[in-house]
C-alpha cells in the first residue's frame, strides 16, 4: 500500500496534510501522536472510510491500483480481503445482538461464499489462531458475555477472516488492562510474522508502539513530523515534539541526559493540541515548542533526512538553518 501526498480536508480544517506512507508486505508501522493529530484519519484513509464530509486528495495505491477517488463500491471489494481494521473499543465494535461466532462467520460466507458449516470451521480455526480459550464455546457467546481482551481477540479474528495483506489497528490496546494489552500486542506481532501481513499500529502509547513495530511515524496537527526505525526514533528523537512525547526534551527536567523515557507516555508538553481549524501558520508545533526561532512561525519545515532512515520536519534540523539553535540530537 502506497500513500503519497494524501491530504484530508473538512470544511475549513485540514485533518491530514500531504502524508506519504509506504507499507510493504509484512512491514509493521507505528503511528504515534496525541488525539486529534490525524493518526486515526490516516488509518481511515487506508480503509477508504474517511467520513463523507472529508475531501481526500493525493494518491492512495493498493497493489498498484489507484483508489483515492474510488467509489465506496470499489473500496468495499478491498476491505476485509486486502485491508482490515480493528478499533479501540472492542465492546462497542462488536454487534451486541450477534453471537461472536456469527460475526466472524459473516464475512467468510459473504465474501468467500463459504457454507455455514465450512465458515464455522474456519471461524473455529481463527479463534484458535488468536488464542481464544475454549474456542468452540466462544463461538456461541455474545459480546457482553466475554472479557475485553477476548473481544479484541474476536475482532482480530474477524479482521483476519479473509486473509488481508494489511491490518490497521487503531488504538487496539487503549481500552484494555496493561497486561492484557501486552498480550494483544504480542499476538498482533506474531500474526504479522506468521502471515506475512503488514500491520499499521496506531497508538498514543509509545511503549506499545515500541513493542509492536519496527518503523514509526510521529504525527502532529495533521503533519508527519518525524519518521524512522522505531528503535532509532525512540532512542534518538530529533524533532522537539517527539522529544516532548518521550519526556526528554532539553530545557525541561531531563536536560543533557540520555533519553530513557521510552516507557513514558506523553505528559510533559506544555499547552494543548490546537483544534484543526485553528492551527498555527508555519510549523504546527510552534507556540508549544519552546525552541522556536525566526522561521518557525512563518514557514512550514520540510523533512530533513538524518541518516539510518530517520527524518524529521523541523527548522532546527534543516541545513538552511544549520548552526542555529541547539537541537539536542545534532549537538
Amino acid at each position: 500500500m502506497e500513500l503519497s501526498q494524501v491530504s484530508v480536508g473538512f470544511a475549513g480544517a485540514v485533518a491530514l496534510r500531504k502524508a506519504s506512507v509506504s507499507i510493504a508486505p509484512g512491514a509493521r508501522l507505528g503511528i504515534v501522536g496525541e488525539s486529534g493529530c490525524g493518526k486515526s484519519m490516516l488509518g481511515l484513509c487506508l480503509m477508504g472510510m474517511v467520513p463523507d464530509a472529508g475531501q481526500v486528495t493525493g494518491s492512495i495505491r493498493l497493489n498498484g491500483q489507484e483508489l483515492v477517488r474510488a467509489p465506496e463500491r470499489v473500496w468495499r471489494r478491498h476491505r476485509a480481503r486486502d485491508v482490515a481494521m480493528i478499533f479501540q473499543e472492542p465492546m462497542a465494535a462488536l454487534n451486541p445482538l450477534k453471537r461472536v461466532g456469527d460475526t466472524v462467520m459473516e464475512p467468510l460466507m459473504i465474501h468467500e461464499g463459504l457454507s455455514r458449516s465450512t465458515a464455522r470451521a474456519r471461524a473455529l480455526a481463527l479463534f484458535e489462531e488468536v488464542g481464544l480459550p475454549d474456542p468452540a464455546a466462544r463461538l456461541r457467546q455474545y459480546p457482553h458475555e466475554i472479557s475485553g481482551g477476548q473481544r479484541q481477540r474476536v475482532l482480530i479474528a474477524l479482521a483476519l477472516a479473509c486473509n488481508p495483506g494489511l491490518l490497521v489497528a487503531d488504538e487496539p490496546t487503549t481500552a484494555l488492562d496493561a497486561n492484557v494489552a501486552l498480550r494483544i500486542i504480542d499476538l498482533l506481532v506474531r500474526l504479522s510474522e506468521s502471515r506475512n501481513m503488514a500491520l499499521v499500529f496506531i497508538s498514543h502509547d509509545l511503549a506499545a508502539v515500541s513493542r509492536a513495530t519496527d518503523q514509526m511515524l510521529v504525527m502532529y496537527g495533521g503533519d508527519i513530523v518525524e519518521r524512522g526505525p522505531t528503535a532509532q526514533v525512540l532512542a534518538e528523537p530529533r524533532h522537539p515534539y517527539t522529544q516532548g512525547l518521550l519526556g526528554a526534551r532539553p530545557g525541561l527536567e531531563n536536560r543533557g541526559r540520555t533519553p530513557d523515557g521510552r516507557r513514558k507516555r506523553l505528559v510533559t508538553i506544555p499547552g494543548t493540541v490546537p483544534p484543526l481549524h485553528d492551527l498555527p501558520q508555519g510549523c504546527r508545533f510552534s507556540g508549544r515548542c519552546g525552541q522556536e526561532f525566526a522561521p518557525c512561525a512563518r514557514q512550514r519545515p520540510q523533512p530533513t533526512a538524518l541518516g539510518q532512515g530517520q527524518e524529521a520536519a523541523c527548522h532546527l534540523l534543516s541545513p538552511l538553518h544549520a548552526g542555529h539553535g541547539t537541537c539536542r540530537g545534532a549537538a
Partner: protein, 322 residues
C-alpha cells in the same frame, strides 16, 4: 450467563406475570367502578326516564343491582373469566356471542393495519436514516410530521372521496364477510391504509432516529470495515439493533392502534367490536359496553406484557440484566 440460567429467566417471567395480572385486576376495578359505582342508576340509563318503577325494579333485580357492590364485582369478573360477560339488552343474546361474531372483523383490521404500519415505518424510517440530511430524508420527515397531525377519520374520508366516490375503485364502507375473500380484501384496503398511514408516521420517525443512533456506533463501522454492502449493513446490522426501541414504541402505540381501529370501524361502518361498542352506547346497552371496554383494555395490557417479554428475547444484553 442469563441465557443459560433458566432460574433467572423464570424469576423474571414470574415477576412480569404477577405485574401483568395486577394491572389487569386494577383495570377491571376501574372499569367496574366507572360503570357501576359512579352516581347514576344503570336501570334508569337503560330504560330511560319514562320507565315505570316496576320495570326499573325488575331490571335492577335482573342485573343484580340490589346486591352489594363487591359481590357484583366478583360475579362480573368471575363470569368474565369463564367467558360469560352477561346478556346484551339490545341484542338479547349473550355478550360473548356478540364478541365471537364481531371479533374476526376487528382482528383482521388490526392485524392488517399493524403489518402495513410496521412495513411502512421500517422501510421509510431506515431509508430516511440512510439518506440523512438529503432530500429523501427531508421528504419522509415532512410526510411524517403531516401524518402525525392528520386525524385518521379525516384521512379516511379523503380516501373514500378519492377512491370510492370519484374513482369508484373501492367500496366506501361495509364488509361482505370472509366468505367473499376478494370483496373482504377490497373492503379492508381503505381502512387499512387510513390506519397505517397515521400510525406509520409516528413509527417512521422513531425508526429513523433509532437507526441514526445505531449508525453512529462502532460496530456499524466494523461492519463497513468488513467490506459489507450498504444494504447489508443497513438491514442486517443497523435495523436489528434499531428494533429494540421500535418494539417498545409499537407496544406503547398499541393503545392508539386499538383506538384507531375503533374509530376506523365506525368511519367505514365495519361490523367489528368498535362498531358494536358505539351501537351499544346508542342502545344504552351497559353490560355490552362494560364487557367491550374491559376486553379492549385487556388486549392493550396483554400486548404491552407480551412486548415486555419479547424485548428480552430480542436483546441478549437484557437477559444478562434481568
Amino acid at each position: 450467563m442469563a441465557l443459560e440460567d433458566p432460574a433467572r429467566m423464570a424469576y423474571f417471567l414470574i415477576r412480569r406475570t404477577i405485574g401483568f395480572v395486577l394491572t389487569l385486576l386494577t383495570v377491571s376495578v376501574v372499569v367496574f367502578a366507572v360503570m357501576n359505582v359512579l352516581p347514576g342508576d344503570p336501570a334508569l340509563t337503560i330504560l330511560g326516564i319514562d320507565a315505570s318503577e316496576q320495570a326499573l325494579e325488575n331490571l335492577r333485580r335482573q342485573l343484580g343491582l340490589n346486591d352489594p357492590v363487591h359481590i357484583r364485582y366478583l360475579n362480573w369478573i368471575g363470569g368474565a373469566l369463564q367467558g360469560d360477560f352477561g346478556t346484551s339488552h339490545s341484542f338479547r343474546v349473550p355478550v360473548s356471542e356478540l364478541i365471537v361474531e364481531r371479533l374476526p372483523m376487528t382482528v383482521s383490521l388490526a392485524i392488517s393495519g399493524m403489518v402495513v404500519t410496521i412495513i411502512l415505518a421500517l422501510v421509510l424510517g431506515v431509508a430516511a436514516a440512510a439518506n440523512h440530511g438529503k432530500p429523501g430524508d427531508w421528504g419522509v420527515m415532512f410526510l411524517a410530521q403531516i401524518g402525525i397531525a392528520v386525524p385518521s377519520f379525516w384521512l379516511s374520508i379523503l380516501l373514500i372521496l378519492l377512491f370510492a366516490v370519484s374513482l369508484q375503485w373501492l367500496p366506501p364502507g361495509g364488509f361482505p364477510g370472509w366468505s367473499d375473500p376478494l370483496g373482504a380484501i377490497r373492503s379492508l384496503i381503505l381502512p387499512t391504509a387510513a390506519l397505517a398511514l397515521v400510525q406509520g408516521a409516528v413509527l417512521a420517525r422513531v425508526t429513523r432516529s433509532s437507526a441514526l443512533e445505531v449508525m453512529r456506533l462502532d460496530y456499524v463501522r466494523t461492519a463497513r470495515a468488513s467490506g459489507f454492502s450498504r444494504q447489508r449493513v443497513l438491514w442486517r446490522h443497523v435495523l436489528p439493533n434499531a428494533l429494540v426501541p421500535i418494539v417498545t414504541i409499537v407496544g406503547l402505540q398499541f393503545a392508539s392502534l386499538v383506538t384507531g381501529t375503533i374509530v376506523i370501524e365506525n368511519v367505514f361502518s365495519l361490523p367489528g367490536l368498535g362498531r358494536l361498542i358505539f351501537q351499544s352506547i346508542s342502545n344504552r346497552d351497559l353490560p355490552t359496553v362494560q364487557a367491550l371496554v374491559m376486553l379492549f383494555a385487556a388486549i392493550v395490557v396483554t400486548v404491552n406484557f407480551i412486548v415486555d417479554v419479547i424485548y428480552v428475547f430480542i436483546d441478549p444484553r437484557l437477559k444478562a440484566r434481568t
